[in-house]
Amino acid sequence: MSSDHWRRAGAALAVAALLAYPLAASSPYYLDIGVTVLLAAISASAWNILGGFAGQVSVGHGMFFGVGAYLPLLVYTLWGWPPMAGIPLGMLLAVGLAALIGAPTLRLTGHYFSMATIAVAELIRILVGTWGLVGAAIGLQGPATARGWWDLTFRDETPYYYIFLGVLAGVLALTHALQGRRLGYYMRAVKAGEAAARSLGVASRRTKLAALALSASLTALAGSLYVLKTGFVDPDSGFGILVSVQMVIVAALGGAGTLYGPLVGALILIPAQSWANSWLGGGGSGLTFVLYGGIIVLVARFEPGGLFELRRRMLRWRPERSRAA
């Protein structure tokens, strides 16, 4: 068999494993890990569009995740609508927010852009925490028991698993399609060198704004999915800095700017985190985040391209160098 056949067989096996996982998961604990992996993969893939492919490293994506997480519970709390009615509203609002903050922050480059996104996300987190309409510091609660299937409130997590898997497939398909389109090429050009890209006629600001808007709306979708599952959100779990950080770590560990990097990162990091939590006595001690930080430092120091880059280097003799982005 050629390497192409092997790759196809491997992909089919991976898809089958992802589809069959809930049947194999022996307890709700393992099922929950699976659901959390998918969610982390979705949000990191959404981040990856801006941070990986377009090279604009946002560390404030929690602001879009939070918007997506709040809107479903807000429409439920205010008007008793089914939470999922808030999903498109959240995505729209995230795009609006992206346009609003994109104009000034995307003029900035490099570290400066990253720090500015943190400041904006923190500003929003603190404001939400003082705003009574959205539950202030306490947050918002979803329906305790489903009024019908449309509330998407399930006791068993299996339906969430398949919904999330479907969304992840959609996000990956979209990212894949983007790579072959003009916007995708423009994004890579801007990442490689903005001045050079501009001199070749790439509308760099419009490209970055488009990447930000797309990335923001998908991140909001991830936030909505999160809140459908947990039925609860507060300023920290929606807008907190650790929400933003997780997306960056997951994507960077697998390989920022690669299609499957975020999924690979999530498959490694989320189980590791949950085992660390149970070994080290819960998140209370903070050791889990020491581990998190340690992983990022090691990735940055030794393999900034992530695991995909590592694999590519180990398989350098293979004729796939031409695919290097």
Binding site: H111, A119, V120, I126, G286, G293, I296, P304
Partner: protein
């Protein structure tokens, strides 16, 4: 009178902001690099002061010096162990390196010292001074004045000494500096040591006046960044003016709007500034 009191209190804290923002601006100026763990250096300086006071006793001069030295060593070690290797790497690696470092430092402190707020036991600095009707707590006053002097000292070190000239030479042109016999690696390590040391010192000074917990670093890091943006990147005098301004704005917004709004107003002003003057208040385009 109350208003004046509030503003003076803010300016005193602002002087400490200026001191640790100077370190951030020094590193930016030399290496085009934002250290996301800078606020954590401030936080570590606070715990260093606490440990020195509880184990060794001794006054503010001792624990401030100890915090500065410990953080200087840590900063230089971080440069050699981590920063040097990512400095020429991709931007994502640069950002991730100090970001991961910030998480490690913050949550190690969290693990060792717990999330509770602590404060220094009573030191020699206590009580309140009354100057012309203004009531000034001695710890705040001492921290502010010392920070002002140290920021000025750092500026003099950079502009008036041979070492300062060598630092600036590396910032100006690394290759040319090497040609005249300056070792850029040593100078950059020195810059990291100075930056971390001044942050640690600022932390020790604040520890005399305010309680803290491991999570304060995140806020201080952002405050330092905003101060540096306001003052123009790479400028110590700019950081001084901006630090005083940020301190005063925080104090006034806490006074007029309530304590939770002190950071909100500063962050909002920062975002507004991004719209209007992305090069900073005092920076050039």
């Amino acid at each position: 009178m109350t208003l004046l009191q509030v503003v003076v209190g803010g300016l005193l804290l602002g002087a400490v902001y200026a001191l640790f923002a100077s370190g951030l601006t020094l590193i930016w100026g030399m290496m085009n690099f934002i250290n996301f763990a800078h606020g954590e250096f401030v936080m570590l300086g606070m715990y260093a002061a606490l440990l020195v006071v509880t184990w060794l006793g001794g006054g503010p001069a001792l624990f401030a010096l100890a915090a500065a030295l410990v953080l200087f060593a840590l900063g230089a070690a971080i440069y050699f162990g981590l920063i040097r290797h990512v400095l020429r790497g991709p931007m994502l690696a640069q950002i991730l390196s100090t970001f991961g470092l910030a998480l490690v430092l913050r949550y190690t402190a969290f693990w060792i010292f717990s999330a509770n707020f602590v404060s220094l036991p009573q030191t020699a600095l206590s009580g309140t001074l009354s100057i012309g009707g203004l009531l000034l707590p001695v710890p705040q006053l001492a921290a502010g004045v010392a920070a002002l002097a140290l920021t000025a000292g750092l500026h003099l070190l950079l502009t008036r000494t041979a070492v300062g000239s060598q630092l600036l030479a590396v910032a100006e042109d690394r290759e040319a500096a090497m040609l005249v016999g300056i070792r850029p690696d040593r100078m950059q390590a020195l810059a990291w040591g100075l930056a971390a040391g001044s942050a640690g010192l600022a932390g020790a000074l604040m520890a005399t006046a305010y309680p803290w917990s491991p999570s304060v670093g995140a806020t201080f890091g952002l405050t330092a960044f905003i101060t540096v943006t306001l003052g123009g990147f790479g400028s110590v005098p700019g950081a001084l003016y901006a630090g005083l301004m940020v301190g005063a704005i925080q104090a006034l917004s806490a006074y007029w709007l309530g304590p939770i709004y002190k950071d909100v107003v500063v962050y909002a002003l920062f975002v507004a500034l991004l719209w209007l003057r992305p090069q900073g208040l005092m920076g050039r385009a």
